[in-house]
Each structure stands twice: as C-alpha cells, then as structure tokens.
C-alpha cells in the first residue's frame, strides 16, 4: 500500500515538475510547482517525517512560492515566446547536471530493485528532530541562520543604496 502510494506520488511530482518547466505563463508554472511540493510533502510524510512534511508545505508551498507569485505580479511578467531550437550554451550544463542525477537514481534503483529500504524504516518524531537540530547540530544551525542574516542585511543595503531606480528585486 505504502509503496503504491510512493509511486503514485512520484508520478504526480514528476508530471507537475515537467509541466512547471514547460509552461509559458509564469503563474501557471508556479501553480504546478506548488502541486509538486505537495506531492513531495506527502512523500516525506510517507517516509516517516511528519515535521519535514509540514515544513515543506508551510515554507516552500506557503511562503516561498507566494513570494515568487508576488514578484511575478509586481513585475507583470507576460507569457513569453521561447527562442526556437535548443541553445546548447544555455542548456548544456543543465542537461549534464540532470543526467548525472538521473544516473545516481538509476544506480540506487539497480542496487535495491525491491525498494525494501525506502519506506517506513524509521519514524522521525518532531521532538527528536528538534533535539538533533538544536542539540547536536546547534552550531551548524547557528551558522546557517547567521548567513541568512547577512544575506538579508546585504539585500537591505543593496535596496537602500539604489533608491527609485528600476524596481527589480
């Protein structure tokens, strides 16, 4: 049952992501990406990590994609015509990256074709995750949060030093 759900979710996620990158209308692309994030969140839940699933929905689907939509609407991005023909200067690195990712995935599948190691091996309770994040990995969490702080201060400075110019953020 759980592995069936896993494959259904995987199919939804891949389809949604594929649709997301092929849409010309940016708002439609965002909607498909949100659908993909949902499938991903459910998959986390299936893998025994409800807290990560909730974060996926709250942070990615609920906050970051809303900010994407905000930018799209503020800039009034219209659907654009794509340049004809593949442009290998632009697409080459992307193809390289995704094909290596694909190779890794295939390798994983061949190593364990029955997928016995995937589902339900461990249930990660919210408390456990919190203790790991703020106990054992506290330093790493602090470093990352300071980086975010620097980034936001930097963004603020950049926005401040160029008042009333083109409102691209």
């Amino acid at each position: 049952m759980a592995s069936l759900l896993f494959y259904i979710l995987g199919f939804i996620m891949l389809t949604a992501t594929l649709l997301c990158i092929t849409r010309r209308n940016p708002v439609h692309a965002v909607i498909y990406l949100v659908v993909g994030f949902f499938a991903l969140a459910l998959m986390f839940y299936l893998l025994g990590a409800p807290l990560v699933a909730a974060w996926e929905v709250i942070v990615y689907a609920g906050a970051i994609m809303v900010l994407f939509l905000f930018i799209i609407m503020m800039l009034g991005l219209a659907p654009q015509e794509l340049p004809e023909g593949p442009n290998w200067h632009r697409w080459g690195p992307l193809v390289l990256l995704s094909s290596s990712l694909m190779a890794c995935t295939l390798l994983l599948i061949f190593q364990d074709p029955a997928a016995t190691e995937i589902i339900g091996t461990y249930y990660l309770a919210p408390q456990e995750l919190g203790e790991a994040l703020f106990g054992r990995y506290a330093l790493a969490v602090e470093v990352v949060s300071f980086q975010l702080l620097f980034a936001s201060i930097g963004a603020y400075m950049l926005g401040r030093s160029l008042p009333k110019e083109d409102d691209e953020s």
């Binding site: 209308n25 708002v27 439609h28 909607i31 949100v34 409800p50 807290l51 699933a53 909730a54 974060w55 929905v57 709250i58 689907a61 609920g62 906050a63 809303v66 900010l67 939509l69 905000f70 609407m73 503020m74 309770a125 919210p126």
Partner: protein
C-alpha cells in the same frame, strides 16, 4: 477488518457532522453579523424573511445560485474557476485537527472527538492558513482586472507579514504544552487557560489572526471604497458566494483556534464540554463582529509597519521571556 470498518465509519460520521455544523454555523454567522452590525449602526438589519429574518440565509443562497456565473473576457478561465473553491476548501480542511470535546467512551471503545489527531496539528493549521492565500491571489490575478490585481497583491503582502507574528504568538503555547497536537494543547490547559498564562501572546495572536483572515480593521485586500471589492470584484453568483462562505468558515476556524490555543478548549464548569466549546467559539466570533462595527481601517503602509516593526519584535521578545521563565521554573 471489522475494527477498521468501524473506524472508517466513525471518521465518515464525524466528517459529515462537522461539514453540516460548520456550513450551518457559517450561514447563520452571516445573518448574525448583519443583525449585530445593524444594531450597532442604529438600524434593524434583515428582519423580513421568516421570524426575525431567520430564513434570510436560505434566500441568500438561492439568490446566489440563480445568478449568472459571469467569467470576464480575457480572464484566465481555469484559474478563475477554481480559486473560490480553494478558499472555501482550505478553510474547511482546518477543522480536521480541531478537538471539540474530550474522547468519548462508548461500548468499550475510545472515540476521540476529532477527525484526525495529527501530532503536528499546529503546523497543519499553519500550512492550510498559508495556502489560503492562493485562493485569493490566484482569483485576483485570473480576473484580469486592475482592482482585483491590487487586491491580490495587497492580500499576499499582508498574509506573509502577519503569518510570522501568528506563528511566534503560538510558540509559547506550544512550549507550555510540549506538543504540536491540538488535543494535548487543550489537555495542558485543564486548570489554567493559556489566556492567563500568556496574555501578550493572546493579544498578538488576535491581531495577527484578524489580519490573516482579512477581517475588518485589516480588510485592505477588499477595501470596497478604494478598490471596489479587491480580489472578488469580477466574481458573481455562487463563486462569489464561495469566497464569502470561505470567509465566514475561516471566522469559525479562528474562533475554534483561539478557543483551543488560549481559552482552554472544552474545559469549563457545569455545562457539557461541547457546549462550552461552541460557546467560546461564538464568543470569539462575536468579538470580531464587534471589532468590525467599531474600528476604522488603517492605511496600507501603517498596516505593514505595524506588522513588521511592532508585532514581530513583540512576538520574539515574548518567546524569549517565556523560554526564560520556563527554564527558571523547571530548575
């Protein structure tokens, strides 16, 4: 197998009950709001249909259904059609984790009075409330009208800003209950409601939640005297009705959340637990209707400044103080 069947049946019964009760309450809250607002503005409110206007909600529904379902030219048709449903759906789904009474013992089984007692219930509600913005935003964008787009952009900025304060206001509650489960949060308030333990968090929560649900002091996204109707300007008939019903369902959700997080849930003397729960929910709903009758709307920049420069720091300070007190109490 039999056990599984009974569990499934119980869940279906609970879902049906919640659906019926919440929709009925939403319909009559509209009437209550119109009547209370009428009294506050020295007029009667609806009083013609049925005794004291009691059948008015039915008439409103019939009117909305029989109206033309209008789709503007050059609107993004599919997004325009599903956006109102999304608003009503996210509001309704929040009820899945709200416990409205202590577990019932019937025929040797323990029946929890909640559809699904998730151990990340608080985060589930957050997730849904952050998704509720999509209905409004996509509806406003898809209408292809300037007023709708302004309403959509406003609601997006407002919801993102106040969601942070909302989350921070709930952190002290979670810290004292030591759980994300709504049932356990209610259990932790058996002797003291959180309103007395975390008064500052309660105030922040009420303000943030009013902004989240676009209730009147914060109804900039639909400010009818500046931008016509904001995101729902182009909607008509039952699609407008869905936005409208969604708004009132979310008013009940707010009442239920306030009750669970701060007013002690179903706890109370003498009366049965469900009665206490419903009374508290209705009281919170009345507070919001009262605020609508007596508060002016701030300017948009005042709203954003208040959210980021007052509520957010206050919430952070509150979390730090609560943490310090808890550590001191536990030795």
């Amino acid at each position: 197998m039999n056990d599984l069947l009974i569990t499934l049946l119980l869940i279906l019964v609970k879902l049906g009950l919640i659906f019926g009760v919440v929709l009925g309450m939403a319909a009559y809250l509209v009437l209550a709001e119109r009547k209370i607002l009428g009294r506050m503005q020295l007029r009667y409110g609806p009083n013609r249909v049925g005794p004291g206007g009691m059948i008015q909600p039915m008439c409103d529904v019939i009117k909305l259904i029989t109206k033309e379902d209008f789709i503007p030219d050059r609107a993004d048709k599919w997004v325009f059609l599903f956006a109102p449903g999304l608003t009503a759906l996210t509001a309704l789904l929040s009820f899945a984790v709200v416990p409205f009474a202590p577990p019932l013992h019937l025929f040797g089984r323990e029946i929890p009075m909640v559809v699904c007692d998730l151990n990340v219930g608080v985060l589930y509600i957050f997730g849904l409330s952050s998704l509720a913005v999509y209905g409004v935003v996509l509806g406003g964008w898809a209408s292809n009208s300037k007023y709708s787009l302004i309403g959509a952009v406003r609601s997006m900025a407002q919801l993102i800003s106040y969601e942070l304060a909302l989350g921070l206001a709930l952190v002290p509650v979670i810290m004292t209950a030591k759980s994300f489960s709504l049932t356990e949060i209610v259990m932790s308030q058996a002797d003291w409601p959180n309103l007395l333990r975390h008064p500052l968090a309660f105030i922040i929560f009420m303000i943030a939640v009013a902004a989240e649900s676009k209730r009147t002091p914060f109804d900039m996204p639909e400010a009818e005297n500046e931008i016509v109707g904001g995101f729902h300007t182009e909607y008509s008939g039952m699609r407008f009705g869905l936005f409208f019903v969604g708004e009132y369902i979310s008013l009940i959700v707010i009442g239920a959340m306030t009750t669970v997080f701060f007013l002690g849930g179903w706890h109370g003397p003498f009366l049965p637990p469900v009665v206490w729960f419903v009374m508290k929910v209705l009281f919170v709903a009345f507070l919001f209707i009262w605020a609508r009758g007596s508060m002016p709307r701030p300017r948009y920049d005042q709203l954003m400044h208040f959210g980021w420069k007052v509520l957010l720091p206050l919430g952070l300070v509150n979390v730090v103080i609560t943490g310090a007190v808890l550590v001191a109490l536990n030795g």
